[in-house]
Amino acid sequence: MSTPSDALSCGHSLADLSEYLDTGQIGDPGHLAECPECQSGLASLRRLAALGNELLDADTAAAGSGSDDWMKTILGNLRLELRPGRSIPLRADTPGDVLTETEGSVSALIRSVADSLPGAAAGKCRLYGDLTEPGAPITVGVELAVVYGHPLEQRAATLRQELATVLSRQTELNITAIDVTITDVLEPRNPGPGAPAAGAPVAGAPAPTVGPGGPPTPQEKP
């Protein structure tokens, strides 16, 4: 496996040292510490490894941020395919036409409505019932994380109202119930350098019980 030029006069090869760097394994570890040739070879390979990391960092920085347009394009494409779900039929004016909206497009709509509520972030958004059968009763389930300090019951009621309005406009589903479950209480983030204005939450501890009188004190994750 060695190339003619990589053999050291001590009997080891740079290929041995290269593998040692990755695996920590070499035939006679005691030799390494004493052999100036091996030490010099190792130092050279380590410098290269450091340069490799530097190149990776530079390339990653040059690749841009995940909030840039290239990633938006990719996510836009993926969004259509990740979870298209069931096809929800829409009434057609002409017999033979097949008009549908995907379950994924409706749950994304539900999520965006929930996310736009101040102090709230959507978790799972699900549609229950036979979506493929026109007129079948459908239940909407939304899990919601709410920033600590916001009135939970009021948030849930507002969201139910808004969802009912949006869904009656954007779908032909027969929505019989909208269940909003508060699953998390989020701790408001401390404003700091580079931090956005107040309101952006971090994930806090799950809230097992939620009462209008006193939400539990958020705790650190173990």
Partner: protein, 131 residues
């Protein structure tokens, strides 16, 4: 993003491709339509994406099926994104009507799938595929 290399030789069904492009413009002009997506799911076309990017060969987004070569068209299939500003079911019906009117008097069946509702990122997603 795409280097201007030699274009694809475009040998197959130029009529169908031209018609698909025509229909795409018609559909894009319907109020409430924010994007026209490839009619076939991404994972079916992904293998062609690289070649398409390199050669600049355009993939038509509107699926057009004909009873024989060229017109008349018997079936049109399209996937769209819609803005939240218009009721999505209305937009789907308006798209079907616009396609039918464009191909009139030939009879046609139209499949419209709404895959995205009211996202401001829809325009980015469709526009970027042409870069």
């Amino acid at each position: 993003m795409t280097e201007p290399l030699s274009p694809g030789d475009g040998t197959h069904a130029p009529d169908a491709a031209a018609l698909a492009a025509e229909l795409q413009s018609v559909i894009e002009a319907v109020a409430g339509v924010t994007a026209v997506y490839p009619a076939r799911p991404l994972w079916q076309t992904i293998a062609g994406a690289a070649r398409s990017a390199v050669t600049g060969e355009a993939r038509s987004r509107v699926d057009v099926a004909s009873s024989d070569t060229g017109r008349p068209v018997t079936a049109v299939k399209v996937r769209i994104g819609v803005s939240g500003a218009h009721p999505a079911p209305h937009v789907a019906r308006a798209v079907a009507a616009a396609v039918r009117q464009h191909l009139s008097p030939h009879p046609v069946t139209v499949q419209v799938g709404i895959v995205q509702i009211g996202s401001e990122e829809a325009a980015d997603a469709s526009g970027a595929q042409e870069m």
